[in-house]
Structures are given as structure tokens and as C-alpha cells.
């Protein structure tokens, strides 16, 4: 990378939950402005998008132009030469959908893992704990193809030791011998468990309940992610999820996080007070879809996420397909600075009203 990015370097170097609103707007705002110029200079499509908007250079966080995440499904967007691509991430999208393609160079991948480390250790501490991976080993076996789930697990494995997979490859059933051995070996010690929300609920917590098994990992932390959509369909609330995780496995700190493959490293972790936290190098803005103006605390809108990390592709400011609401700024009882928010679910699908289609689509 030839350009100097002093603000980006500074905001990435700051502790993850230390910047107050004024300082963050100045520092992160400047970093995002650097990135906007960088991508405009290196990604022709991004330059075209900016030119058509005819806007002046951004000055604050909320002024940074944003791309809808779906654009990464429709276009190949990168700010690096093809031979600088270090790895390509793809979203795990529903069957039949085109996945997003996110191109990482080494610098971006490094910034991403550092950022993830800063956030994760803030929640589980610096010591590596025995780690229970609530998935099957096959999900990470093929390291050349990074599914979002596999990449997420590999990313998190760095923060644990004595990795043990809780599920069987064949049928996603509980691997009871492995779990028992793990439980005996680390009895009474706080462990770190990680998995995808739906996998944790369906194949781990529900399976433990069905089998009448109770595990005991006092002081342990469960981190999970991947979205509530499937659990909402089964009418499982976050509260219910947490209480079953405590009863069945003794996980007394359960942290859901919000993030997406299109903006690697920006992880919005839920604290013990149930709020999702924006770290210093990333932020969240809730926008009114009518005119895309930013909304205030308590007003529901569409979630935009910004991050100082993406150098290799123009993903530093993205409009998500999720609805959300800000719950506060610099005022969480947990003491972490920055904005907090809640995710309210996906933007509902549009009503089909035309002549074009479909006899076929209703089978879906």
C-alpha cells in the first residue's frame, strides 16, 4: 500500500472500546475519508459510484458514502491487483443465490485478525482457554474453500486451545465421547465455546436437552453468531437461548455477535447487558430508507456499518439488509465506549405484483 493512512493506523491501534464519541468521529471519520479516497483511486467501479453521487469528500463518519451489501453479489469489487488477492471470502447465502465475493490482501487479512483479537480478548480475556467448537470438524477441513462458517471458526480458533469439536461429521449429532473427555479434562475450569447461532441451538443445546444431559463449565463464555432468522422462525428469543445455555452447559456469559462476511473484522459483540457494541475502528449508523438520513437513538431503520479495516475492497461503508435501532452511545453500564444497538431482523421481502412471474417460484 503506497498511500499513508495515518488516521486508519491510529484508529486501528487504539484499544477497541476506549474512544468517546467526539474523538471517534474525528479519528474514525478521518480514517474512513482516507479509505474513501484510496478506493476511489484503486477501484474504478467505486470511483464511478462516487462520481455519480457528485458528493464532496466526507468529513464525518455519517458522511461516508455507502454501498449496499448486495452489490458484492452483483459486482466483483476490489481495490487491488488480481495477483495481490491473498484469500477470497464468499457469503454462505441461501441456495440458488449468488454469494458475495470479498477479496482480501495480506494487509487487510492481518488488520482483520488483529481487530478480531482485540475484540475477542476484551470479552474472554488474554489467556487461551480450552475451546469447544460447536460444529463438526468437516466444516474447516478443506482450507482452500473458505465458507463463511469455516472462516469464522478458523478465525476464532486462535483464541482457544485444546480445540474439541462437539458434533459428528456424519449427522451433526453430539460427539458425546469427545465432549465427555473434554469435560473431564477441563472440569471446573472456564472454557471458551464458539459456534453459529443456529448450530448451537439446534445441534447442541436442543440435543443436550433431548438427551437429558447437563454439562458444567462454570465461568465459561459462549460466543455465537450467524443471525437469528432461523431461530425466530422457531420462536426462540435471545433470553431463552441464554437461559438454556446456562442451564444445560453452564455458559454464564453468552455473547451473540453481529457481523458479516462483507465487512470482515467489524464484529459487534453483545455485552452482558445485552447490547451490541461498536468497537472504535468500526461504527453503526441507523438510516431512514425513505431518504437515507441518519436516525437517532430509539428510531428504527436500516443498519449501515463502517469499518477502518477494508483496504483491499471498497467495503469500509456498507448498507446492510437488516433493520436495527441504536440503544445508546458511550453510556452502556458495561463501561465500553461507543455506540450500542439492537438488530431487529431482515428487511422484509417486497410484495410481488407484476405479470412477470411466477408459477415456479412459489415452490420455494
Amino acid at each position: 500500500m503506497s498511500e499513508a493512512m495515518q488516521a486508519r493506523d491510529a484508529v486501528l491501534a487504539a484499544p477497541p472500546f476506549a474512544l468517546d464519541a467526539a474523538e471517534k468521529n474525528r479519528l474514525l471519520g478521518a480514517a474512513l475519508a482516507e479509505l474513501t479516497l484510496h478506493h476511489a483511486a484503486n477501484c474504478p467501479q467505486y470511483a464511478g459510484i462516487l462520481a455519480a453521487q457528485g458528493r464532496s469528500a466526507p468529513i464525518g463518519i455519517a458522511d461516508v458514502p455507502f454501498l449496499p451489501v448486495r452489490l458484492f453479489k452483483e459486482l466483483d469489487l476490489k481495490s487491488i491487483a488480481a495477483d495481490a488477492v491473498f484469500k477470497t471470502l464468499t457469503s454462505s447465502g441461501t441456495t440458488g443465490q449468488v454469494p458475495s465475493r470479498i477479496y482480501l490482501d495480506q494487509a487487510t487479512a492481518q488488520a482483520q485478525s488483529r481487530a478480531l483479537a482485540a475484540i475477542t480478548t476484551n470479552f474472554i480475556g488474554k489467556d487461551r482457554r480450552p475451546m469447544l467448537i460447536i460444529d463438526h470438524p468437516g466444516v474447516v477441513r478443506d482450507r482452500t474453500s473458505f465458507s463463511a462458517r469455516g472462516a469464522g471458526i478458523l478465525g476464532m480458533m486462535t483464541y482457544g486451545r485444546a480445540h474439541t469439536y462437539a458434533l459428528n461429521d456424519e449427522d451433526m449429532g453430539l460427539n458425546l465421547p469427545a465432549i465427555t473427555e473434554f469435560a473431564e479434562k477441563h472440569a471446573g475450569k472456564p472454557i471458551f465455546a464458539f459456534g453459529f447461532t443456529f448450530m448451537v441451538w439446534k445441534y447442541f443445546l436442543s440435543a443436550l436437552e433431548r438427551a437429558g444431559i447437563t454439562l458444567d463449565f462454570p465461568g465459561s463464555v459462549l460466543i455465537h453468531s450467524g443471525g437469528w432468522k432461523k431461530l425466530e422462525d422457531e420462536a426462540v428469543s435471545n433470553e431463552q437461548f441464554k437461559s438454556v445455555a446456562l442451564e444445560r452447559a453452564g455458559f454464564d456469559h453468552v455473547h451473540n455477535f453481529y457481523g458479516m462476511v462483507e465487512q470482515v473484522g467489524s464484529v459487534f459483540m453483545e455485552c452482558d447487558h445485552g447490547r451490541l457494541h461498536a468497537p472504535g475502528f468500526a461504527d453503526v449508523i441507523i438510516r431512514d430508507p425513505l431518504d437515507w438520513k441518519p436516525l437517532g437513538i430509539g428510531q428504527e431503520g436500516i443498519i449501515q456499518v463502517v469499518s477502518a479495516i477494508p483496504l483491499s475492497y471498497p467495503g469500509h461503508s456498507l448498507l446492510t439488509e437488516d433493520r436495527g435501532v441504536l440503544t445508546g452511545e458511550d453510556d452502556c453500564p458495561c463501561g465500553r465506549m461507543g455506540r450500542t444497538f439492537r438488530v431487529l431482523g431482515r428487511i422484509p421481502a417486497a410484495e410481488m405484483r407484476g405479470c412477470s412471474d411466477t408459477h415456479t417460484a412459489q415452490a420455494a
Binding site: 464511478g48 455519480a52 457528485g54 405484483r353 407484476g354 405479470c355 408459477h359 412459489q362
Partner: protein, 401 residues
């Protein structure tokens, strides 16, 4: 020949009450424009007009208006030829209701055919309302008349399409390209014919000088807005693009007065605003900007978005609910190379029929099925997608003695 019981079990009868496949297959055909068939269409019209919910929907009111006896009488061919019904017509309605398929079904009733109409399995208020009205209308008619219009619902599966298609003398497929492909996999008897209404796109053309001189600009803008947004801009006939004819200065001036009026008309229409559509518009305009130099027109909000693009290569449905691309053309002939096979309706303002005829004769574009004034894009015509429906739904018996 009848339908196998395991197929029949999967077919639900939605209207008329007490109707059955067997009764419909056995129902008598009628002479085109027979009185009892006119009575059926009139019963549908009355049911719509008697219903407050239906009366509040413009597309239902338009259907009732079309079904007036006076209007139907004009449909009867006056060429002196002897026409006969084709027999059994199988209609596949689109998955999302608009009333369009009902026009062709009712025309087929008038043609004297016996009809099976497959409606979507997708629940919607509009479909529920339509089925209720059809049931009410059919209940007022004698048994043998009401059996000529059977509304069914069944899973979109080939064996069922096969079974019904085997009985069809004519098949009418509404819906997108995928639907047409899927239903076409079911063979028809050798003598049967088929009408397909696949995916289409539509546009508008305005002559900039004519716009500047138009005495009723606000009204024309309102008609354009309604053509576009009545079905959320998802109808095949709703304009997705606007072509301005004229020199650069005139066009710029016309754009500056036209779009604010459209914006007011859309605001006045007060359609519900969907966040999903706003995101779609954002994706669409950024895709266009990523591909080439474009200009996004300033609008007050995302109910209306307009992207001006100098080289509109291919007209596709990028977004809906108030998303337009526009470009200038010097002469009408400049439009011809852009026209694709799937272009259906041109809503035209300030371009004369003679200009259009001259352009079509000189350039012979592959597409364009109809050219209508603003406000008429969604109005059903008996000639649709280039086909005279009444002709296609009957056969002519030539009597040369």
C-alpha cells in the same frame, strides 16, 4: 378421457362452489358471444361494482369498466366470418395477481370456450377478493353456464400440468419466461394451440418540445406516474425507462419540469413505502454508476429515483416502485437499435402515430407490441403482445358454399 384420481386429488376447486373438473370437461361449448356467456361476464362486472373493497381497487374498476355490455359488443368481429369456439382452454395465471389474466379468461368465455384457470398457490388479499367475487358472480348463473369457468389451484408440478394439458384445445400461459418454459414441458394434443405471455419490459418516450408546449403537464405527469407505480412498476406494461426526443437544451429543460411533477404525483398516490424497494433502487443506481458514467437526478426521497445514462445498452428490470433510467435520443430512429425482442409497451407523449409508423417501417425493430398515450399503459387491449386474443381463442370455419 378423464383425469386420474391421484391427480384430481391434488387439484383444489376455488370457484364455482360445487364445481368439478368432470363437470367442466363435460360442459357445453357456446357460440362466440352467446347471450349466456355475455351474462357471465356481466355477472362478474356486477359483483365487482357491488363490492366496496373491489371498488376501491383501480384495476378492478378498470375490469368492470371493460366488461360493460357496450364495450364487449364492440369486440364482436364484424367481418362476417363464421367463428367457433376452440373447446377447452387451459389458463395458467401469473403467480402474483394482477387482473390481466382474467381478461383473457373472460375473453375465452365470450369466445364460447370451456375454461380451466389455474391461479397461484400464493395467498394474497387481492386473490382472495377476486375468488370471492368470481364465486358470487358464478352463483347467480345456471349450472351448465357456470361450469364453463372453473378456477383451480394446484402445486406447480408437471404430472398435473400434463394431465390438464392433454385435454386442452388451447393453452394460455401468463407469467414469466420460467413459467412458460415449465408449462411447455407438458405436451398438448397435436391440434391444440398455445398463447404465451412471457416476461416483457416497457418504456416511455416524450418529445421534449411537445412537453414544453403541453397545456396539461401535471395531468400527463400524473398519468405517467400511475402507469408506472400502480402495480409497483412490476407490471410488464409499466415503463422502466424514459427516452427523451429532442436536442440537449430542450431535453434538459423538459426533464427539469417533468420529474418534480412526477414526484408530486407519486407522493399524492400515497402508495405504501417499502424499505426493500429503496435498497433495490440503491443497488440499481450504483450498479449503473459502476458500469459507466451516469447521473443520478436529485429527488427529495427514495420514492422516486432516476438515473440518466448516455448508453442504455439493455432495458432490464433493475428495481421497482419508482425507479427509472432515462436518456436522450435525437430522433425516433435512434431508439430502434436499442429495442429488444422483449419490449412490450411504449407510453408515448408528443410523438405522433405517423412518426411511429415511419420508424417501425424504416427500422423494423424486433420488439414493441403496443404504443399508447400516457395513462393507458396498463389498460388491457384485446390485442395483447401482438396477438388478437379473440381471434386466437376461436377458430374460423370457412363456408364456401
Amino acid at each position: 378421457m378423464s383425469i386420474a384420481p391421484d391427480i384430481k386429488r391434488q387439484i383444489s376447486i376455488m370457484a364455482p362452489a360445487g364445481g368439478s373438473i368432470a363437470a367442466t370437461l363435460a360442459a357445453p361449448r357456446a357460440a362466440p358471444f352467446a347471450l349466456e356467456r355475455l351474462a357471465l361476464v356481466d355477472a362478474v362486472r356486477k359483483a365487482i361494482l357491488a363490492d366496496p373493497a373491489a371498488r376501491s381497487r383501480p384495476e378492478m374498476v378498470a375490469l368492470a369498466f371493460w366488461a360493460r355490455a357496450a364495450s364487449l359488443a364492440q369486440l364482436a368481429p364484424k367481418d362476417g366470418l363464421t367463428r367457433a369456439p376452440r373447446g377447452l382452454a387451459l389458463h395458467i395465471a401469473p403467480g402474483n395477481v394482477d387482473t390481466m389474466f382474467l381478461y383473457s379468461a373472460l375473453l375465452s368465455v365470450l369466445a364460447g370456450n370451456v375454461n380451466i384457470v389455474r391461479v397461484s398457490g400464493r395467498e394474497s388479499d387481492a386473490l382472495t377478493l377476486l375468488l370471492r367475487l368470481l364465486n358470487e358472480a358464478l352463483a347467480t348463473l345456471p349450472n351448465d353456464v357456470r361450469a364453463c369457468l372453473l378456477i383451480v389451484r394446484y402445486p406447480a408440478e408437471k404430472p398435473i400440468n400434463d394431465a390438464l394439458s392433454a385435454h386442452a384445445d388451447v393453452r394460455v400461459i401468463w407469467g414469466g419466461d420460467d413459467t412458460v418454459r415449465e408449462v411447455r414441458a407438458s405436451p398438448l394434443p397435436p391440434h391444440a394451440s398455445e398463447l404465451t405471455f412471457p416476461s416483457k419490459v416497457s418504456a416511455a418516450v416524450i418529445d421534449a418540445a411537445a412537453w414544453a408546449a403541453a397545456p396539461d403537464q401535471a395531468e400527463q405527469a400524473r398519468r405517467f406516474a400511475l402507469d408506472a407505480i400502480t402495480f409497483g412498476q412490476q407490471a410488464c406494461s409499466s415503463p422502466l425507462a424514459l427516452f427523451w426526443r429532442g436536442d440537449a437544451a430542450r431535453v434538459a429543460a423538459a426533464q427539469a419540469t417533468f420529474w418534480p411533477l412526477v414526484e408530486s404525483a407519486i407522493a399524492a398516490a400515497d402508495e405504501p413505502f417499502a424499505a426493500r424497494a429503496a435498497v433495490d433502487k440503491l443497488v440499481a443506481e450504483q450498479k449503473l454508476a459502476a458500469a459507466g458514467a451516469v447521473h443520478h437526478r436529485d429527488t427529495s426521497d427514495y420514492r422516486l429515483r432516476v438515473t440518466e445514462t448516455p448508453d442504455l445498452a439493455r432495458l432490464t428490470r433493475l428495481a421497482s416502485d419508482g425507479f427509472f433510467v432515462e436518456r436522450r435520443i435525437e430522433r425516433l430512429e435512434d431508439l430502434a437499435p436499442l429495442v429488444q425482442r422483449d419490449w412490450q409497451t411504449i407510453a408515448s407523449l408528443g410523438v405522433s402515430g405517423d412518426d411511429w409508423r415511419a420508424m417501425l417501417a424504416a427500422s423494423r425493430p424486433h420488439g414493441i407490441d403496443r404504443i399508447v398515450p400516457f395513462g393507458q399503459a396498463l389498460a388491457f387491449g384485446n390485442v395483447w403482445d401482438g396477438v388478437n386474443l379473440l381471434t386466437a381463442l376461436t377458430r374460423i370455419v370457412s363456408i364456401e358454399v
